[in-house]
Symmetry: C2
C-alpha cells in the first residue's frame, strides 16, 4: 500500500440545544461555522480545527468550540471518529468528533455573527465535507441514547417538572408522547426523584419539581433495574469471580 | 503550542469471546499479541498496527485482526479513540480502537502461538501502553450495552435456548441471574421469538429454541418498546415535522 498521501488529525464538535418556537414547540438546533478558506470556502461546517500534538483530544474540542461559538458545555463527550479515505480532497483527514448538549439559556447567550449561525438540526443546508452525515449520526445517537440513558438531563436545569422532561423527549424523538404513559414509564425507571418543591410562579396546582437521582448509573438498563434486589444477591461472590 | 512532535494514527482491536471452563462456567477471554519491538518489547498488547493513508479505518482493523489472530468476526464496531498526549513515548500515537465479539467455536479455531495468546479478560497481566485501560473500557461498554442492546446475539448462533442466552449474560455481567426473572425480563422486551423448534439431542423435555426478532431495532429502549402502538399514533405527523 502506498503511503504517499499524508494523514492529518482534526477535532470537530456537534452541538445540540433545544429552542422553543412561537407555537411553544421545542426543536433541536445546532450552531455551524462558515468556512473562510478552501476546500468548501463559504459553506457551513462543524466548529473544529487541527489537533496540535501537545493538546488532549477533549481539550481541543472544548477550545475550538469556545473560540467559535463562546460555548462551554457541561456535557461534552466523544461521539465517533470519521476517517473515510475520500472525505476530504488533498491530505486525508481523520476527524475525532465530539458532541455537546447545551441548555437553552446557555445557547441563547452563544455567539452569533456573519460566520456563526444556528440551524434546525433536522433541516440543514448542504454542509462542507461529510458534515451532514456526521450530524445525522449524532442525531441518531442522541435519539437512541434518550431511550436508555439520562441524557435528557443535559438539556434541563437541576430541577424540572415532568412536563418539561417530556418536552425534551418530544423534541428529540420528534413525536408527541402521552403524558400519563410518560409519567408511568419515567417513574418505573426510578431515575428521577421528586424534590418535594413545586414550580414557582404557577398559581393553581403548581407542578412538582423533580431531579435526577444521582445514585442512578448513567445507563439505567433492563437488568440492573428490574431484577429484584438481593434475589439473587449481587453482593455474594459469584463462583466465577476469583477472590 | 509547539507542533514539533509528530502525531501518528494507529488502529487496534479488542476481541472478546466466551470460553467455558471445566466447571461449566463461561468467562470472557481476549487474544493478545506479544510485541516484537520497542517500546514495550516482549509485553502483551492489543492486535493492531499503523493506519495506511489509503485504507479505511474498519478495513485496517479487520486486516490487522486477521493477520495476527486469523479471526474474521461478524461483529466489528468502532469503540473509542484514545489519544492521550503521553500514552506512548516518542511520536504521539492516536489509536482508533475497534471491538469485536466472536462466537466460541470461531475463537477455538483462532491462531495461537508463541506471540498470540488468549487471556481471561478480567485477569490480565500488565500490558503495553494504556492497553489495560482500553480493555477495561471495552469491558465496561460491553457490560453496559448488554443491558439495552441485543449485543448478546454476537456470542450466540442463529438459534439458542433461554438458558444459553442467560449464560452469556451471566458470563458478561459476572453474576448469577435468577432463571425465572431472566425469562420474564427477556420476554417482556419482545426482542426474542420462539422458533417452534426444540434443542436436538436432549431426551427429556428438550428446551425451546429462540432467535432474535429481526424486526427489532438494534437498540431496544424504553420509549420505543413500552408506549402502546398507535396511542399516540407515531405515524400521524407531529406538528413539529415539516411535511
Amino acid at each position: 500500500m502506498s503511503d504517499a498521501r499524508a494523514s492529518r488529525l482534526a477535532v470537530s464538535t456537534v452541538i445540540f440545544a433545544l429552542r422553543t418556537d412561537d407555537d411553544g414547540l421545542a426543536t433541536l438546533w445546532t450552531p455551524l461555522v462558515r468556512r473562510t478558506r478552501d476546500p468548501h470556502l463559504g459553506q457551513w461546517a462543524l466548529p473544529g480545527g487541527w489537533l496540535p500534538s501537545d493538546e488532549e483530544l477533549e481539550a481541543a474540542a472544548a477550545r475550538t468550540l469556545r473560540s467559535t461559538t463562546g460555548l462551554a458545555p457541561k456535557y461534552l463527550e466523544q461521539l465517533y471518529t470519521f476517517g473515510g479515505v475520500d472525505r476530504s480532497p488533498g491530505d486525508r483527514v481523520i476527524s475525532v468528533v465530539y458532541w455537546a448538549l447545551v441548555q437553552s439559556d446557555e445557547a441563547e447567550r452563544a455567539a452569533v455573527g456573519e460566520n456563526v449561525q444556528w440551524f434546525a438540526a433536522d433541516d440543514l443546508p448542504a454542509l462542507a465535507f461529510d458534515h451532514n452525515a456526521i450530524i445525522g449520526y449524532a442525531l441518531w445517537r442522541l435519539r437512541t441514547k434518550m431511550e436508555y440513558a439520562r441524557i435528557a438531563h443535559a438539556f434541563l436545569g437541576e430541577t424540572f417538572t415532568l412536563a418539561q422532561l417530556r418536552e425534551v423527549y418530544e423534541a428529540v424523538l420528534q413525536k408527541p408522547l402521552d403524558p400519563a404513559n410518560f409519567r408511568r414509564t419515567i417513574e418505573s425507571t426510578g431515575t428521577v426523584a421528586a424534590t418535594g418543591e413545586r414550580l414557582a410562579g404557577t398559581p393553581h396546582r403548581p407542578p412538582m419539581l423533580y431531579r435526577y437521582d444521582v445514585a442512578t448509573n448513567l445507563t439505567d438498563g433492563t437488568f440492573t433495574t428490574r431484577i429484584p434486589p438481593g434475589k439473587p444477591d449481587p453482593i455474594k461472590p459469584h463462583p466465577r469471580m476469583r477472590t
